[in-house]
């Protein structure tokens, strides 16, 4: 999906001993959105922006190693190995040893001379990997200015973490120059280093710079235009996490030290085998328990009591992303943890007094096919006609933010209808559900419309699988849990042909084995992921959580 930006200048943080000015450069291709105000609680803002930065750069994907050194060594060794073979002949051996000694001495000198070069080369390799412009396929962070707050949103490179920092107007003073709306801001690694210089004893101004909109024409040298080709999977991941916010959740209130304890355990242990989930054991009226698999380590949260009515056990994966919250631990008064179900997105909202930070985590940190991930999060929830949807949207647009109840009253519509309509817009990236305040907000993720139909499914097989499930063509014959995981076998009727399939999931709910009698499986086995029949089996047995 092509996205274009045009920024006048770059975002900057300028500091001297008396003042700090944080100036974000907005996208001038979008309708004017700006804000100027002075921060009151500067340190909390700094820490929260740092956590947001951690989301932006978070990438838990596999990092390839620089194999150049190994290849060099191997090339050297090839000669040695060959020489060894030849040296089986007695006469040659002596000569070989002599030459080898000389070579070793020369190599030693060469290594010493070349060491700084190889070190610099290695650093450059890492720099290129990190800073390769082609790798920065991410949407620049989004800022929305609303009548009651300013909030920043971002989504990580590895498509697994969502961050939102909301600042209510009470954390600002001397607010001037506001224009409501949503825009992208020019963001860079250098900004993060400058944020670290924010101090309580310096006046700090936050500016979403209105100046860019005062210049009428582009093509001037001060404008920087960027064209980015966003991977569909990235956009899909963002929308899935956003869409998940509108679903019913189990909500827990936890203390900062509870998160501290979880992070501490994760820092002191490394799992080598699965399962790698974090299991929340919830018993009404009792302290929340968090179990870290596979060690079975129990973290009891004695001051965090589960207020729900039913006992629950919920497993979430990709727990190491919680380290993103570490900078918030000193400044948060508490965390609200929102869980949807096994393997579903989860949300951690830090209360920072006047500000809040929401960390949204997708079901797993790696969104590969083995997780058979949440493609139904973009499924249509309920049928709402387009006219009613438009009416709901328009009503929300007028006030920028509103609760579903108020909208339903205002429009004389059923509450579920209003919620379904808003959920649809949320799936399109045009509306955001604010989990903290229970309101819906107008927020256009992209300037260009998002082609949801194109993005909804990772591939054709997912779409087919969902159709099978929705039309009742899937019958489960066996669904067994065992010490290794889960075994599901069943039958899918596809074009009047019955396909017998089975899938085996490990304890981390990853697909480890599967079989089907369809052409796709016979041709590819599992090399290209599961076929639509296996996906349908999985979806049928998920019951809203995987």
């Amino acid at each position: 999906m092509q996205v274009n930006y045009r920024y006048m200048g770059t975002s900057q943080v300028a500091s001297n001993s008396q003042h700090t000015q944080v100036s974000f450069s907005p996208d001038t291709l979008r309708p004017p959105t700006f804000f100027v105000g002075e921060l009151k609680n500067k340190l909390a803002f700094r820490e929260a922006m740092s956590a947001l930065h951690q989301v932006v750069i978070s990438d838990m994907r596999f990092t390839p190693k620089n194999r150049d050194e190994y290849q060099r060594w191997l090339t050297e060794q090839e000669q040695t190995l060959l020489a060894d073979l030849v040296s089986k002949q007695g006469k040659v051996k002596q000569q070989l040893n002599q030459v080898r000694d000389e070579l070793a001495a020369m190599n030693k000198v060469a290594s010493k001379i070349m060491a700084p070069f190889y070190q610099a080369q290695n650093q450059y390799f890492k720099y290129l990997y990190k800073h390769d412009i082609d790798a920065w396929y991410v949407l620049d962070p989004v800022i929305t200015v609303h009548p009651d707050q300013v909030f920043f949103e971002c989504f990580s490179e590895d498509e697994s973490s969502y961050g939102k920092l909301s600042c209510s107007y009470e954390v600002f003073k001397n607010i001037s120059d506001t224009e409501f709306g949503t825009t992208n801001i020019d963001y860079s690694e250098g900004l993060y280093n400058e944020f670290q210089k924010i101090r309580d004893y310096r006046d700090t101004q936050l500016k979403i710079d209105p100046d860019g909109f005062k210049v009428a024409t582009s093509g001037q040298q001060d404008f920087a235009e960027k064209k980015i080709d966003l991977p569909d999977s990235w956009v899909r991941g963002f929308l899935q996490v956003s869409s998940a916010m509108t679903l019913p959740m189990v909500r827990l209130k936890m203390q900062p030290m509870d998160l501290y304890n979880i992070c501490f355990k994760l820092r002191t242990k490394k799992e080598r085998v699965g399962p790698r989930a974090m299991r929340f054991e919830l018993t009404p009226g009792q302290a929340i328990k968090v179990i870290l698999e596979p060690w079975g380590e129990e973290i009891l949260c004695p001051r965090s009591i589960y207020q729900g009515d039913e006992p629950r056990s919920i497993r979430v994966w990709g727990r190491r992303r919680l380290h993103i919250l570490e900078r918030l631990l000193p400044i948060a008064s508490h965390f609200e943890v929102c869980l949807l179900g096994d393997g579903m997105p989860s949300f951690y909202i830090a209360d920072l007094g006047g500000m809040s930070f929401t960390l949204g985590l997708s079901g797993w940190s790696a969104n590969d096919w083995s997780k058979m991930a949440n493609f139904d999060l973009l499924a249509s929830r309920a049928e709402v006609d387009s006219q009613t949807s438009a009416k709901v949207y328009q009503a929300l647009f007028e006030s920028q933010q509103q609760s579903a109840n108020r909208l339903a009253l205002q429009l004389g519509l059923d509450l579920n209808t209003v919620k379904s309509a808003l959920a649809q817009y949320s799936q399109h990236g045009q509306v955001l559900y604010d989990m903290e305040l229970d309101v819906y907000r107008i927020r256009h993720l992209c300037h260009e419309p998002i082609p949801l139909e194109q993005l909804r499914f990772n591939n054709e097989r997912e779409e087919k699988a969902l159709n099978f499930v929705n039309t009742g063509l899937v019958s489960i014959q066996k669904d067994q849990f065992n010490e290794n995981g889960r075994y599901i076998a069943g039958q899918v009727l596809d074009n009047a042909v019955e396909h017998q399939s089975f899938i085996s999931l490990d304890l981390d709910h990853r697909l480890v084995d599967g079989q089907c009698n369809c052409h796709f499986w016979h041709r590819n086995k599992l090399r290209q992921g599961p076929c639509e029949h296996m996906l349908a089996l999985r979806q049928q047995t998920s019951n809203g959580s995987l």
Partner: protein
């Protein structure tokens, strides 16, 4: 076919006198055949024909070419070149009305031919019919358009200057042939008048600085300036130079370097503010950075009187700039320059080497009277290293000082909430807080609140310390709200059941 041609050429070579037959010569010239054309080009000489004969040949060719659809651009070009070399007098006396239909022809080849002859023709620019000029300038063939441009050479400088904007535009955006001709014409203007030179220089400068040109165009313009506008480059104004220095075009920056070096550094030739020099010190062009370093080395007062604005260069990504500023700070600045605010600014950096330097400054220029100031300010640094450093200042500048202790509450929380890091700082802060809890009621409450928050920790070492500490606090104030209560002693009998 090739054999026949070869035979015919061989026969012709044996009878070169045939070339004196004008009709025959014209027919030969119209044949596009490589060997024949080569032989003709080598054989024909300007002295072979008198002016009348040349005129007749040229006229005849023009007449024949007009309806000739098979003429290719390549052959047209060749033909024109041969005629210009060998029949120039003929062209000079050619009736313009014979050339006109060729120039207006729809076929590009005819236009190519006519255009080249027109450049040599003595007709003045103003006498060329406008519709003809329009047809040539709007031709789809780049060569024709370039030749049409060359017609402008017929104008004198006064007339040509009116075309300056068009010429400049063509020198930036035209096809290579057009750009070449446009630059030739600009050179003519430069030679004619210095004022023209200044205007051309300014126009090219603006375009180079705009970063809208490809690499090839940039290089052409840079070479043009270097060869033909040296005086203007040598007298470039500060504003013009600034434009070049900040251009994204690498060629523009190279020009800027030439201009920079053209004047004596010691005489402070460039009236830029320190902010501008600092910006130049971050230039991606090494020569500019080096000039900046040299300039600031000579004009040290710019830095010394700047209230530390230059300290951002300590974090420069360019090693030579960073090294220069470090050396400057060490060698040129003394205690009169290093105010506490400046030292804190250095310590505020996120860069480890700069932080280390900051600590060095702190140790060298530390004033007891500023201890508390340093403590409060440095305690807000997010880095683990600085937090540890600050622990050294606690006992001397925060002990028994309620206001300072309360101000440091965020610092204490930050240190004690680091996950699995900063053990030494944690131990020191814990010990310090336990000592200072008795300082006042407000401090006691602050410490109690903090310990209550931290007491949930599952780090056994910290938990043990916290439990002990809270017990101690409870002794100080039994009514203090703490999540700890002392149960009575349990006495067990020999059967191990409590009594």
């Amino acid at each position: 076919m090739a054999e026949a041609q070869h035979f015919a050429l061989a026969a012709l070579k044996q009878q070169p006198s045939l070339l004196t037959q004008l009709d025959f010569l014209c027919s030969l010239l119209m044949i596009e055949q490589a060997e024949l054309n080569l032989w003709l080009a080598e054989t024909l000489q300007p002295t072979d024909f008198n002016q009348v004969e040349q005129t007749e040949i040229v006229s005849s060719l023009c007449t024949r070419l007009e309806p000739y659809d098979a003429l290719t651009r390549r052959h047209a070009k060749w033909l024109a070149i041969v005629l210009i070399r060998c029949m120039n007098k003929g062209i000079q006396h050619l009736d313009f009305m014979i050339l006109k239909p060729l120039a207006m022809a729809k076929h590009e080849a005819q236009q190519v031919f006519a255009c080249r002859l027109l450049v040599e023709h003595p007709i003045s620019y103003v006498d060329i019919p406008p519709e003809l000029l329009a047809a040539l300038h709007q031709s789809e063939n780049v060569g024709v358009r370039a030749r049409a441009l060359l017609l402008l050479k017929k104008q004198n400088a006064h007339e040509l200057i009116a075309q300056l904007d068009n010429l400049l535009e063509l020198s930036f955006t035209g096809a290579p042939e057009e750009r070449e001709v446009a630059l030739e014409l600009l050179l003519k203007l430069i030679i004619a008048n210095n004022k023209n030179a200044a205007a051309i220089f300014e126009g090219i400068l603006q375009k180079l600085a705009s970063n809208q040109l490809g690499d090839e165009q940039q290089l052409e313009l840079k070479n043009f300036i270097t060869l033909n506008l040296q005086p203007q480059l040598a007298t470039v104004t500060a504003d013009q130079l600034w434009l070049l220095l900040n251009a994204k075009s690498s060629q523009a920056q190279l020009l800027a370097v030439t201009a920079l070096n053209s004047r004596d550094l010691n005489s402070a030739p460039w009236p830029y503010h320190l902010k501008q020099w600092l910006q130049l010190a971050q230039s991606p062009t090494q020569a500019i950075r080096q000039y900046c370093i040299n300039y600031l080395s000579v004009h040290k007062s710019l830095l010394l009187t700047s209230q530390g604005d230059f300290l951002s260069l300590l974090e420069s990504n360019w090693p030579e700039v960073q090294a220069f500023i470090f050396a400057f700070c060490r060698n040129e600045m003394d205690q009169n320059h290093w105010s506490p605010d400046l030292i804190v600014t250095v310590c505020d950096s996120n860069n480890p080497s700069v932080q280390t330097f900051g600590r060095e400054l702190l140790q060298t220029f530390f004033e007891q009277s500023q201890g508390k100031n340093y403590l409060i300010k440095l305690s807000q640094h997010p880095s683990e290293n600085v937090e540890l450093f600050v622990t050294n200042l606690l006992s001397e500048y925060a002990a028994n000082d309620e206001a300072t202790l309360l101000k440091l509450q965020p610092y204490f929380t930050s240190v004690l909430t680091r996950v699995n890091r900063g053990r030494l700082a944690k131990d020191r802060v814990m010990a310090f807080l336990q000592q200072q809890a008795q300082c006042s009621t407000a401090v006691l409450n602050m410490v109690a609140t903090l310990f209550t928050r931290l007491s949930l920790t599952q780090v056994q070492k910290d938990k043990a310390v916290l439990l002990k500490a809270m017990l101690q606090l409870r002794k100080t104030d039994p009514n203090l709200a703490l999540p700890i209560s002392v149960l009575g002693n349990t006495v067990t009998t020999s059967s191990n059941s409590p009594v």
